[in-house]
Subunit: 357 residues, 2 copies
Amino acid sequence: MGGDHGPSVTLPSCARFLRDHDDANLLLVGLPDVLQTAWAQQPGVAQLAPERVKIVAASEVVSMDDPVEVALRKKKDSSMRIAIQQVRDGTAQAAVSAGNTGALMAVARYLLKTMEGIDRPAIASQMPNAKGGGTTVLDLGANVDCDSEHLLQFAVMGSALVSVLSDKEHPTVGLLNIGEEAIKGNDTIKHARTLMLKAAAKGQLAFYGNVEGNDIFKGTTDIVVCDGFVGNVALKTSEGLASMVAAFLKSEFSRSPLTRVAGAMAYPVLSAFKKRVDYRRYNGAALLGLRGLVFKSHGSADALAFGTALHRAYESARNDLLQKLETRISAAAPLLQNGLDDEDVPALPAADQEQAA
Amino acid sequence: MGGDHGPSVTLPSCARFLRDHDDANLLLVGLPDVLQTAWAQQPGVAQLAPERVKIVAASEVVSMDDPVEVALRKKKDSSMRIAIQQVRDGTAQAAVSAGNTGALMAVARYLLKTMEGIDRPAIASQMPNAKGGGTTVLDLGANVDCDSEHLLQFAVMGSALVSVLSDKEHPTVGLLNIGEEAIKGNDTIKHARTLMLKAAAKGQLAFYGNVEGNDIFKGTTDIVVCDGFVGNVALKTSEGLASMVAAFLKSEFSRSPLTRVAGAMAYPVLSAFKKRVDYRRYNGAALLGLRGLVFKSHGSADALAFGTALHRAYESARNDLLQKLETRISAAAPLLQNGLDDEDVPALPAADQEQAA
C-alpha cells in the first residue's frame, strides 16, 4: 500500500517478480478491496498458480507523514504492521515496504525485537560506485548517536548482508572518517577503529581502515560504516548533487535549437550514463539487526525500482541472511557488546584490581 | 609556496590579481631565490609600481603531508608561519595559503589566537547550488566534536562572512539535520536549534530552521551549519560523486566513433555545464574565528582557482570582515558562550534556588 504511488507501482512490480522467481510466493498485505481489484488487472496473473499469491487483509494504512507514534500506537491494523507480523509469525520470510521509514523501523523493532548481541538495528543501502557496482553504506539514519560498539555491530551486520547479496564471502569494510590516518576523527571513531582492527585480527571482519566521503563513490571498500546522522547527510547530499547535475544538464541541452540537436545526438550516451548511476538498480535498504528480514524501498520508487527491493529481499531470504547474521554476531559477541576481546577480560576480580591499582 | 603546484600556480595568479585590483598590494612569502626568479618571469610585472609587491623571506616550507606538530614546533621559519605573522603584526590584512589545511589552522590559531566569544575557529567554504550561486558550509573539518554553542558560533560567523562577500546583510542560516522537524537529530542538534531560534528572535541571525543534505545543493539557505566531521564527509562525498559523474560521462562519450561525434556536438553544452559546477569559482575557504584573516585555497587549485581565493581574501579585508565578526559575536555573546540569553539568567542566587527546589 505504501510509498508515493501505492499499489499502482507495487502490484505491477509484484506480478513481474512472481513471473521471474518461480520458487517465490507473495503475500499482498493491505486494504483487500483495493488490492483485489488492482491485482486482477495485472497482466498474466490469471496464469499464476493460486497458491503463489495471497491477499492478507489490513484495514489501515500508515501514511508517509504519520508520526512514528501513530504507526506504533494508533494504527494497529495497518498494512505495515500486519506485513511485519507475517514475518514474526513465520508466515513470510521477509517483508518489503515502500512506506514511511521511521514508522517501518519502529514497528519492525517493536514486533520483531533486536537480535542477541545487537543494541540497535541499522539501515543499510547501496550507493553506485565508480567500479560499476554498489557500495553498501550503513547506518543511513536509524541511529543519530552511536558509540564505538554500535559502529562495530554495523560493520559485522553489513558484512553478513553483502556476503549473501554478492559473491564475496569476506567483503571489505571501511570506517567513514575525515582522514585515513589513525589519529583522525573523534574518540568514538578512533575507538571504533581499534575494535574493528581487533575483529579483523580474529578473522571476523575484512577491515580496510579509515575511508573518506569520496571513497563511497570510488568503491574503495564494499561496505562503509558510519553513524546514522553522518550516513543520512552523505546520502541526501549525494541525492542533492545528483539532482542538480541532472537539472543543469537538462537546462543546458534545452537552451537553444542547436543545443537541442546536440542533446538528441548525445541522447544514447546520456541514457547509458544515466543507467550507470540509476538509483533504481540500487533500491532496497535492509533493516539489519532485527529477528526477521525487513526491506525498505524508496518511497518514490517506480515498478522497476520496487522490483529491485523485492529481489534483494528474496535473495536475502533464500541465502539465509538471518542465520548468517546470527553466526557472525555471535562470533564477534564480546567485542560487540563492550569492546572487550578475550585478552582484555580482566584476570583479577574487580576488588583485587582496585587493590592492585 | 604551498599547494600541489607551488609558485608555478600561485605567482601567475598573484600577477593577475595585482593587475585586477589597483588598490591591493601583495607580500609574497617564501624562499626568496625561488620567488624572485619565478616572479620576474611573470608577464607584466615589470610595469607594476615597485611598492605593490614585496618578497618576504622564509627559509622553510610546510609540505602537504607534514604532521601538524612539525609545522607548529619544528618549521618555525616556514612560509606559512611567516605569512600569518604578517597578519598578526598588521603588515598584511589577510593571508592566503594553498598549503596543508591542518597545519595552516594550527599555526594560525597559535599565532593569531581565537576571537573573544569564540571557542573554536571553523572552516567555511562555498559549494555550488542549483540557484546558480554558492551555499556557504561550515565547519568543513576543523572541529570533529561540537556542542550546541559551537554550532551557534559557526552560524554567527558564517553570517558575517556571507554578509561581506555578498549583497545580503542578513543571509539565511540552515542547521544541517536528518529531517526538517524539530524532533529530529541528536541532543546537540536539537539544543543548537533552540539557541538559533533564540538568536533569531533577537535579530542576531536569519535562522531558517533545520535543513537536510540535499538543501546544500538546492540552495535553500545561504549558509549551512554543521560540525566539522559531518561537513567534511558532506564535502568529500560530493567531490567523490562529482568525480564519478565526470569520469562516467567521459567514458560514455569516448566509447565508439559515433559517441565521440556526439561528444564533439555536445561539447559546448558540456563545457557550459562544467562551468556551472566549476569548483574553481568557489575556491577559498575562510578560517573564521581568529584575530586575523586567513584563507585556504584548495591544494590542487590552478591559477584561476587560486585567484578566486585571493579575491575572496581581498573582499573580506576591504569590507572589514574582522570588525563585522566582532560586532556580531559580541551581540550574541551570552548565547554563544553558555546558551543563555537575558531571560534565562536565574533570578535567584544559586543557594536560594536549591532551597526552592
